[in-house]
Amino acid sequence: MKSLGSIRRNFAPWIDPAASPFLRFEGVTKRFGDFEAVDDLSLSIFESEFFALLGASGCGKSTLLRMLAGFDMPTSGRIILDGEDMSGIPPYRRPVNMMFQSYALFPHMSVAKNIAFGLKQEKMGKGEIADRVEQVLKLVKLEDYAKRKPDQLSGGQRQRVALARSLAKRPKVLLLDEPLGALDKKLREETQFELADLQYELHTTFIMVTHDQEEAMTLADRIAVMDKGRILQVAPPAEIYEAPNSRFVADFVGNVNVFDGTVRAATGDRVTIETTGGFDIVAERDVPVEAGQNVSYVLRPEKLKIAAEPISGPNVMEGEVWDIAYFGPVTSFHIRLDTGAIVKVAMVNATRQSPLQLTWHDRAFVTFDEDAGLVLTQ
């Protein structure tokens, strides 16, 4: 049996009809004056899920997180957490904690005091607080830094303290606002895996807001792609990437070639599309389409094969090598078709030496399998 991506997931409550969601947004709208930040949005999130809200800045993802934390109240609609309606509950009485993008560590308190702050508000005993502080510091591997002040820590250490502080109260849901945004690239990659492991260990529900698709793909069980206050698609990372439900999602996540055209024939499990570029595409018919319908065919660059010699068969395009970029693991080609359209091809450098020798302005041939791309009707 074929499945999307190469990861088999054992955790997938969203496909289980018997599972009931832990957190529900029901028709939530938020208006700031005339601006509609969140527009009639409904969403279900399950217990122990690592959920990512992905979108460009201004898409409403942060507003959604702030409404869940209680800093903003929805204009209409309800947020239900673990069976409890959150309407009118102030931030300091909600069983959620947030890790802020700027970390928001209290500069006048030591690391230990920062972490203890939330526990003190609960009127927890002194001994118990000390134990809990020690426990979460151990979790983020900062046992030796309890007495330091935030300005005596490096960026990565501050990020860990912020994480420890937001986990100390054992919230029902942990909210992460661009959790790795302030770290440099190398540190970000390391921290990504640590964060994923931590969530797996704790079984706490994590909701993350990010504009970085790679971060969302690595960390999340499911991703919601947002634009203009609406959710366009909610799905696991592999499905978002391999089976986007719209051109926007396909274009927002990763690189993509889009061919617009009309269905010429749809017979059996095959569909033939006459593209505006003048060539035909034969593809698998995995969505119901009719002859004459306007569709888009989306194709990820790494699903294309490139050759210097002519290739026979369907789905072959010919053009001129316009640009080449060598990234190490992959080499990226931009092929300019005779119609002027640019096709992006990514070749995986699976061996150290490549039989393919191409340079700028060479003629090149590009082909793909019938199941390489996706027919989209919207």
Partner: protein, 272 residues
């Protein structure tokens, strides 16, 4: 940095500093004069400081000034901080522009007018003039200075710190006293110092609003000078200058220590 002072720099500095400080130096020097005549030097002596200690009038005035200063500065700091928070935090409320204007108006209002209007007001409501009227008057004219100082700090205050505190379960009151106030504390303290200094310094408004038994030090000095400058006055002024100088030096040292600590922390953070 091997740049040298040019002749022009030296000359302008000498003139500048002389213009600012020569009168003060003269005053300090003559406070140690043995002679009763202010302008004739006849040897070093601390007699006028001992005389001062026996001058009940001046000591009473100093005590009144101190009480008025501490009380009015403290109340003005509380009110001024509250006004600053209202103006910095609530960007839109009815009458905001009016309130901004009214908070800042005393900054540019001539003291004579402030003093006169307060006098008329106290007379109108039949309030016995004395210690309390001077204190109230000082609160009303120093408050705006506190607001200016605190508001400028609040503009650069990271609001997410307050969000984080509330997110961790702190009520708005706890958040204010445990997060906001400790962080804006230097500005609040600076506001208090400014209010205290202004109150200490004020002659015009105090003269208008005072009554029997509440003579402040500047008023006392002014009235004595009208009968002729005595070395005693020089001694009082020297003590005042000493107090202010010590205050300035302490503030500078605290600031310097903070900078050193900050640099050390940055090194520590870089070392991991």
């Amino acid at each position: 940095m091997g740049w040298r002072l040019s002749k022009f720099n030296v000359v302008s500095m000498v003139f500048g500093f002389s213009f600012l400080y020569l009168p003060i130096v003269l005053l300090v020097v003559y406070s140690f004069n043995a002679s009763r005549l202010v302008t004739v030097w006849s040897g070093f002596s601390t007699v006028w400081y001992r005389e001062l200690w026996n001058n009940r009038g001046l000591l009473d005035a100093a005590w009144v000034t101190l009480r008025v200063g501490v009380l009015s500065a403290s109340v003005a700091t509380i009110l001024g901080t509250m006004a600053a928070i209202a103006l910095a935090r609530y960007k839109r409320f009815t009458g905001r522009t009016l309130m901004t204007g009214m908070v800042y108006a005393p900054l540019v209002m001539p003291e004579v007018i402030t003093g006169l209007s307060l006098l008329l007001f106290f007379v109108a409501i039949d309030f016995d003039r004395g210690f309390w009227t001077v204190t109230l008057a000082h609160i009303s004219f120093t408050m705006c200075f506190v607001t200016v100082v605190v508001q400028s700090r609040l503009v650069s205050f990271d609001r997410s710190l307050e969000d984080a505190a509330m997110d961790l379960g702190a009520t708005p009151t706890v958040t204010f006293f445990q997060i906001t106030l400790p962080l804006i504390w230097p500005a609040v303290a600076a506001g208090w110092m400014l209010a205290f200094t202004l109150s200490l310094d004020d002659l015009v408004i105090a003269s208008f609003t005072t009554g029997p038994g509440a003579t402040t030090l500047p008023m006392k000095i002014y009235s004595q000078v009208r009968l002729g400058v005595t070395p005693e006055i020089n001694a009082v002024c020297t003590i005042l200058i000493a107090i202010v100088s010590v205050g300035v030096i302490i503030t500078t040292l605290i600031n310097k220590r903070r900078l050193v600590r900050q640099a050390r922390n940055e090194r520590l953070a870089a070392d991991g």
